[in-house]
């Protein structure tokens, strides 16, 4: 549903450059996987795209609008169309699973409470956690929290979904379910997705295109098949590991 274009994106903290001129393009309904070593800047990239942090240079265009110069108020309007699945879930720990998942639609009154309750039940079933509505985040395992975080992002029906390592820390069976869910979400709603992941089998299962990031630089972008045949040593090291 949405289109994303990142051009010449740099981000620095104090005097350290974390992202160095990142260029990316994600077409409508496409799933782009971003892979890279720990500390290569993947989360930072997603946080820039979500408008949570301001890059020092470059542009981030969502559906033709550059979000970099936007104020928080303007960003709030754009963020209605962007979902971010946090690496560590970031659930509201004073709220139940039900309140967490239904948070967006309830706050913005886009649905009736009854419709939200129904949506929550079906989303929780989708992520493999039926019947957990009344639980608190503190009562969930890391993997369960992650799935609630995913359900919460889906509840807002965003056009652009950013997943920060959606399958890390999950068992292979659940990881497979989540992979299927990411593809299904795209197929059913035409959602554009950026999936950050280290999980090579998962990446090759779901991605239309893959970008390899290393120390804040995109070193190669291509289809999964192209990356598998890459001659770049950094990509090889990752794919063959």
């Amino acid at each position: 549903m949405s289109e994303l274009r990142v051009a010449g994106l740099s981000y620095s903290v104090v005097d350290r450059l974390i992202l160095k001129g990142v260029d990316l393009e994600v077409r409508q309904g496409e799933i782009l996987a971003v892979m890279g070593m720990s500390g290569s800047g993947k989360t930072t990239l997603l946080r820039c795209i979500a408008g949570l942090i301001k890059p020092s240079q470059g542009s981030i265009t969502v559906d033709g609008e550059d979000i970099v110069p936007m104020t928080e108020t303007q960003l709030n309007r754009v963020r209605l169309r962007i979902g971010l699945v946090f690496q560590y879930a970031a659930l509201f720990d004073s709220l139940t699973v039900r309140e967490n998942v239904g948070f967006g639609p309830l706050q913005h009154r886009t649905k009736t409470p009854a419709a939200v309750a129904e949506l929550v039940t079906s989303l929780l079933a989708d992520v493999g956690m039926p019947g957990t509505e009344g639980m608190l985040p503190a009562e969930l395992s890391g993997g369960m929290r992650k799935r609630v975080g995913l359900a919460r992002a889906l509840a807002n029906e965003p056009g652009l979904l950013l997943y920060d390592e959606p399958t890390s820390g999950l068992d292979p069976v659940i990881a497979r379910t989540i992979d299927d869910l990411i593809v299904e979400t795209r197929d059913q709603r035409g959602v554009t997705s950026v999936v950050v992941s280290h999980d090579i089998p998962s990446i090759f299962r779901i991605a239309d295109r893959v970008a390899m990031i290393d120390q804040g630089v995109i070193v190669e972008t291509g289809t999964p098949t192209e990356l598998r045949r890459s001659s770049d040593s950094r990509v090889r090291a990752f794919v063959d590991a």
Partner: protein, 273 residues
């Protein structure tokens, strides 16, 4: 905390300005807290905040604080009576004991002690809660949901604290005077003499002056606690540091602003006469 920076990214930007370090820090602090207070007030005026959350916060702040406020004030009141009654009775001023204690509490001790206890209890809780939400990215999650943290978290807490502080102050006054009354009665001042003295020396205006102070203290405590919470640094020690700073700043501001409020309020009542 600028309006477009509701998360924890303010710290990096704050290192930028040059000049005498403390002056920059102080100016930034005053600027950011004023903006935060302004935003909260603007949202509150337009009714753009959760009434349910406000009531929940009022309950939490009241239930948290009123028992300890009453305990500390009753103790302080009786200690005050212990010293004052002795001296005044010896010099033939038994008729002033009740009034002195009542005035001390209505004008000064009630509001200030209530403020300090609320800062220590509820202010710390607010800073710790919001701080841990920063560290665990819950504030970022709010922003991703297009729900401004100032609207969801700050406005209800500021409103609740402003509304609860006068009630806390009232309980502080009552407990303090009661403590004084009990102690004075064991030092040769009868209950009826104590009450008569209050009636002749203290007025409703004294009560109102004290309660007016508590409104300001409530605003200060909530805004400072929210500001410290929102500016929590990532890492394990961040929340603890934010909580401590919040309590220290609140207590210092209560005492310092109390000095100025006392001047302003007595000036105001003098011009009314």
């Amino acid at each position: 905390m600028a309006s477009n920076d509701a998360g924890g990214e303010g710290a990096a930007a704050r290192r930028a300005p040059e000049g005498p370090g403390w002056l920059v820090v102080a100016a930034t602090f005053v600027g950011e807290t004023s903006i935060l207070a302004g935003q909260a007030a603007w949202l509150a005026m337009r009714g753009k905040f959760s009434l349910r959350e406000t009531i929940r916060q009022m309950a939490a702040m009241g239930v948290d604080s009123i028992p300890i406020i009453m305990l500390t004030c009753a103790a302080t009141g009786s200690v005050l009576a212990f010293y004052v009654a002795d001296v005044l009775v010896r010099f033939g001023g038994a008729g002033f004991v009740g009034g002195m204690i009542a005035l001390s509490f209505l004008l000064e001790l009630g509001p200030v002690l209530a403020g300090v206890m609320v800062a220590a209890r509820s202010g710390a809780a607010v800073a710790a809660e919001i701080g841990s939400m920063v560290v665990t990215e819950q504030i970022d999650a709010l922003r991703m949901m297009s729900v401004p943290p100032v609207r969801y978290l700050v406005a209800p807490r500021v409103l609740a604290c402003i509304l609860m502080m006068p009630i806390c102050g009232l309980f502080a006054d009552m407990a303090g005077i009661f403590g004084g009354l009990v102690m004075a009665s064991t030092h040769g001042v009868t209950q009826s003499a104590f009450m008569e003295s209050i009636r002749t020396m203290a007025t409703h205006a004294d009560l109102m002056k004290g309660l007016a102070k508590t409104l300001w203290f409530g605003l200060t405590i909530a805004v400072v606690a929210c500001h410290q919470g929102l500016n929590t640094q990532r890492g394990a020690t961040g929340v603890g540091a934010a909580t401590t700073r919040s309590v220290v700043l609140c207590v210092v501001f209560i005492f310092v602003s109390d000095f100025f409020l006392a001047q302003v309020l007595s000036g105001a009542s003098a011009s009314m006469r």
